[in-house]
């Protein structure tokens, strides 16, 4: 993708986020039980989707990177993980704000909250590992392997936290939602997706540039004085 197209995607995403959030904040009706606090859902749910999408993409790119050892996949993988970690952190912050309003505490060992915390730690760990490895090829291979392991672990974390908490609370089933509420949700979901693409491409380019800077092109071939093969 060329720079202009990427910027256009990002600008479109920002614009849509503005529109979606305006509708969510001022047009959509307040939720019956939670009141205005519920409006955080218009960014909270899309953040969760974007983070999960980023990590899923990172998983696919990690496999591609290990398989082909092409720098492009590695750079894109870093981009998706970094973007995913940002969305994941936002998700946690929004979840805590919601939790404070709903349950009166900043933190509750809720299934989704706990899972997203562990997920954040897992992928931040991958980025941490990367920062300690100097050799570019080795860095790509190791973080690829770590990404695959981390991604596969996420569902296990989700299920075990769910069973762990199953005695303490019962999951609330979604109520029927007003159409005026789904519209801003959908707009924001697309908006964050576009912004995720925007950030990922930027971070991937940065990763490629860094790699370029690290790698030194081969020295020029020197002339061999004699060429002698057969004894």
């Amino acid at each position: 993708m060329n720079s202009k197209a990427v910027t256009a995607v990002g600008a479109l995403g920002l614009a849509m986020l503005l529109v979606g959030s305006t509708i969510g904040l001022f047009v959509a009706p307040a939720e019956r039980h939670m009141g205005d606090v519920q409006r955080i859902m218009y960014v909270h749910v899309p953040s969760a989707w974007a983070a999960l999408l980023c990590f899923t993409a990172a998983f696919g790119l990690a496999i591609a990177s290990l398989w082909s050892a092409k720098p492009r996949y590695d750079a894109l993988m870093v981009g998706t993980i970094e973007t995913g970690v940002v969305f994941n952190a936002l998700l946690l912050a929004q979840g805590m704000i919601w939790g404070h309003a709903a349950w009166g505490v900043w933190w509750d060992w809720d299934v989704r909250l706990t899972t997203s915390l562990v997920m954040l730690l897992l992928f931040a760990g991958v980025l941490g590992l990367r920062s300690f490895v100097d050799d570019t090829e080795r860095r790509a291979a190791w973080s690829g392997a770590a990404t695959i392991i981390a991604f596969v672990d996420v569902p296990l974390v989700y299920f075990c936290v769910r069973w762990w908490r199953s005695l303490h609370q019962i999951q609330s089933s979604p109520e029927t939602v007003d159409r005026a509420m789904t519209l801003p949700l959908r707009i924001n979901a697309i908006a964050l997706l576009l912004m995720a693409i925007w950030w990922t491409v930027f971070r991937a380019r940065l990763a490629m540039a860094r790699r370029q800077e690290e790698t030194v092109s081969q020295p020029a071939r020197i002339r061999v004085a004699e060429r002698y093969e057969h004894a």
Partner: protein, 273 residues
């Protein structure tokens, strides 16, 4: 950064390792006139044990090896010369398949690396700077462990005989932790006897060894040559080693700078590194 001039041996990149030592200044190549009588091509080409094309390996921002084209036919004994850091060890490790090449293609014993490295390793043996010893295992235990991984069940007496051959009979039950550099070398050399390779890769086989140890290595190299095996050895001890070789390759900053008959190296009293 003079990329155009291929005759310039000076580093073409500022980050290319330490400043050249005096060894770089040795005047090579030799005058071509002296070498006219030398047969350059065999009447019947032998199978190629090593075939490297534009081989390169980068570590971080340093190219330890670049543009190496090297073809070694079966039965040849090649001496690798070069100053410290010229890429001898990297080349040997690439051939053994412990390193992967950054660029170029490599086939060893007729098998492409790194795809068929497992098959390749079965027929080659590397004696490295690294002794690959576990300090807490005794000499005898180390040999037994290696034999087990090789799928051999040599009798206790055969292992003891091998230890005696490398002069470690008395230390058979001593842990390798307490070994001197020479003793470690002897023990790692014993490994090549267990492996019985078709291609022998020796990195400084004579270093750290006393006269007796060097004689053992020389006799083994001779035995390998008689069996038609191929040997590549890196050494700084050119006076001593070159007479055993029939070809010498000089590496300079990771590239092949000279490739010719080993006898010429001694005749010209060249010290490549």
């Amino acid at each position: 950064m003079n990329v155009q001039n291929p005759q310039r041996f000076a580093p073409c990149n500022g980050s290319m390792g330490p400043a050249p030592s005096d060894a770089w200044k040795v005047s090579l190549p030799f005058p071509a006139a002296e070498r006219r009588d030398m047969p350059f091509v065999d009447s019947e080409p032998r199978p190629r044990v090593v075939e490297a094309r534009d081989l390169g390996r980068r570590f971080g921002s340093t190219w330890a090896l670049a543009h190496v084209d090297l073809v070694v036919p079966r039965g040849q004994t090649v001496l690798l010369m070069g100053a410290n850091g010229s890429g001898k060890t990297t080349l040997l490790r690439l051939l053994a398949g412990i390193y992967r090449a950054t660029t170029g293609s490599l086939s060893v014993l007729g098998r492409a690396l790194p795809a068929e490295r497992m098959e390749c390793r079965r027929h080659l043996s590397l004696v490295d700077h690294e002794s690959y010893l576990y300090g807490r295992l005794t000499a005898l235990e180390t040999l037994r462990m290696w034999a087990r991984f090789l799928g051999k069940q040599p009798s206790e007496s055969a292992l003891l005989e091998l230890l005696a051959e490398v002069g470690l009979a008395e230390q058979r039950n001593a842990p390798a932790d307490g070994f001197s550099a020479g003793m470690r070398k002897r023990l790692s050399l014993a490994r090549t006897r267990l492996e019985q390779p078709q291609l022998l890769l020796l990195d400084e086989p004579m270093s750290a060894l006393d006269g007796d140890g060097r004689r053992i290595v020389s006799s083994w190299i001779e035995e390998c040559q008689q069996n038609g095996h191929t040997i590549l050895m890196a050494s700084h001890d050119i006076e001593r080693v070159a007479p055993m070789c029939n070809r010498a390759v000089l590496l300079r900053q990771g590239q092949v700078a000279w490739d010719g008959k080993a006898t010429e190296v001694v005749g010209n009293r060249v010290v490549g590194g």
